[in-house]
Amino acid sequence: MTPPAPKNIKQVDESTLGISWNDGHDSVYSVKNLRESCPCANCIDEWSGEKLIAPGSIPNEIRPRNLKAVGLYAIQFDWSDGHNTGFYTHELLRQLCECEVCKTKKMEN
């Protein structure tokens, strides 16, 4: 089975990103949470997986400046704090989904 791929990526409001997937799922994200989940080697220790972003260090005003596709498998964000080294794979974005259904599921686990 092929994993779901984004069909449409759009800005919902000033601080919310929306992705609709080709399996019918609709995801929403707070952009601040996305910045905090950056998977790059500066933000997550490559060997231990430990999060290196200090809690509370990402300001509420953080916004992406630009998003673009990386090949066929990921999205790269250029953030307003100048950070741009994270490649968010489609799988990661799917895991980070903050829609009501996914949030409830995460709470249950």
Partner: protein
């Protein structure tokens, strides 16, 4: 004058002709063009998605037979043509290239360059416009196999350069960037730069297929290409034995991770036919390619036998599909070309809605 009733009957008859790969009839697919009825003489074009279509003759015969059977038709003239459809992308790199095929393997020495060269020539022999990029920066062997002497590429405007041309193929290789026999000694990050050059600064022109011969492994070159080039599909080459399969398995998984569609597996050096006994000897064991393909549920695109003339062709610069088109190895390469082209057409037909590799969004605040 064309009889509207007859035209209707002909279209109805052609609606019963199915494309076996795309699972639709050739009228709905829009393949039937320029239908011309003159009394009992019927002429039309069937425009396929690739000149390398493996079932071209079968389709022609079916069209002829079915139209000929209609009352009032005396003579049928079917003209088979092809226009290669592009894989959707609008990236700034390679704008004139319709399909990019990456030839990879996990392990070295399985015959990637031999497969790439013969695949590219077999595709071009069908009438397609084909380019060949030698992305094996440390061990470029395409110029030798294509019989192209080492010389600097011709430079055009704005830092662009032109590919070398031979046998109707456009060829780019790192070997042309150094003096004959000199090694390119570079650290990893430099490799990405050279690949970017190949993608952005080469005047490829209009191509139906660009075949990229990758270096072995899953490193810098592979990553740069999958991130910067809109690859339409990948072919993974392996030899039959377990030791090769372990690495080929990783090659397949790499493409799965970066979402490059896998066209299938090619098993090279599958068997040796003895000239004394005509028996197939499975020197590197049997069935490895099939097992790998089955594990990932992807097609086994071909099994290429070990034939001395294949290496001879590589060394002399006249690839076997040219020097000896009837050899079993050449036949395997021609079949491979047909299957690769067909698989690309199938993928395009089923691609559905997806964010393209050219997606970009500016955030408004």
């Amino acid at each position: 004058m064309s009889d509207p009733k007859l035209q209707e009957k002909i279209i109805d008859a052609l609606k019963t002709v199915q494309d076996p790969d795309l699972h639709k009839d050739i009228v709905s697919l829009g393949f039937v063009k320029n239908l011309n009825i003159d009394g009992g003489n019927v002429k039309f074009d069937v425009e396929l998605t690739t000149p390398a279509c493996p079932v071209k003759e079968q389709l022609r015969t079916e069209c002829e037979t079915k139209v000929q059977a209609i009352e009032g038709v005396e003579k049928v003239d079917v003209n088979m043509t092809a226009v290669v459809r592009p894989t959707e992308h609008s990236q700034p790199v390679l704008p004139g290239v319709k399909n990019i095929i990456a030839v990879a393997s996990g392990k070295g020495g399985v015959g990637k360059s031999t497969v790439s060269t013969n695949l590219a020539i077999a595709l071009s022999m069908t009438g397609a416009r084909v380019g060949l990029m030698d992305a094996d920066i440390y061990g470029p062997s395409i110029p030798q196999m294509m019989g192209i002497p080492i010389s600097s590429p011709k430079v055009g405007e704005e830092n662009k350069f032109f590919p070398h041309e031979k046998y109707g193929l456009k060829v780019v290789s790192a070997a042309f960037l150094t003096k004959q026999g000199q090694p390119l000694m570079l650290r990893g990050p430099m490799l990405g730069g050279i690949i970017q050059q190949f993608l952005q600064n080469v005047e490829w022109g209009e191509l139906d297929y660009l075949v990229i011969d990758l270096p072995p492994g899953t490193g810098d070159v592979q990553l740069t290409l999958t991130q910067k080039a809109p690859i339409s599909g990948a072919v993974v080459v392996t030899t039959p034995q377990e030791v090769s399969l372990i690495d080929a398995d990783k090659g397949v998984k790499m493409f799965q991770q970066v979402k490059v569609p896998l066209l299938g597996i090619v098993e090279n050096m599958s068997y040796f036919i003895c000239d004394g006994c005509d028996k197939k000897h499975h020197i590197f064991r049997q069935g490895g390619g099939k097992t790998l393909a089955d594990n990932f549920d992807i097609p086994l695109l071909g099994e290429v036998p070990i034939i001395e003339a294949v290496s001879e062709g590589g060394d002399s610069g006249i690839p076997i599909v040219m020097s000896n088109p009837e050899s079993p190895a050449s036949q395997a390469y021609k079949d491979l070309a047909g299957k690769v082209a067909a698989q690309l057409s199938i993928n395009q037909a089923n691609s559905g809605e997806k964010v393209s590799a050219s997606f970009e969004l500016d955030w408004k605040s």
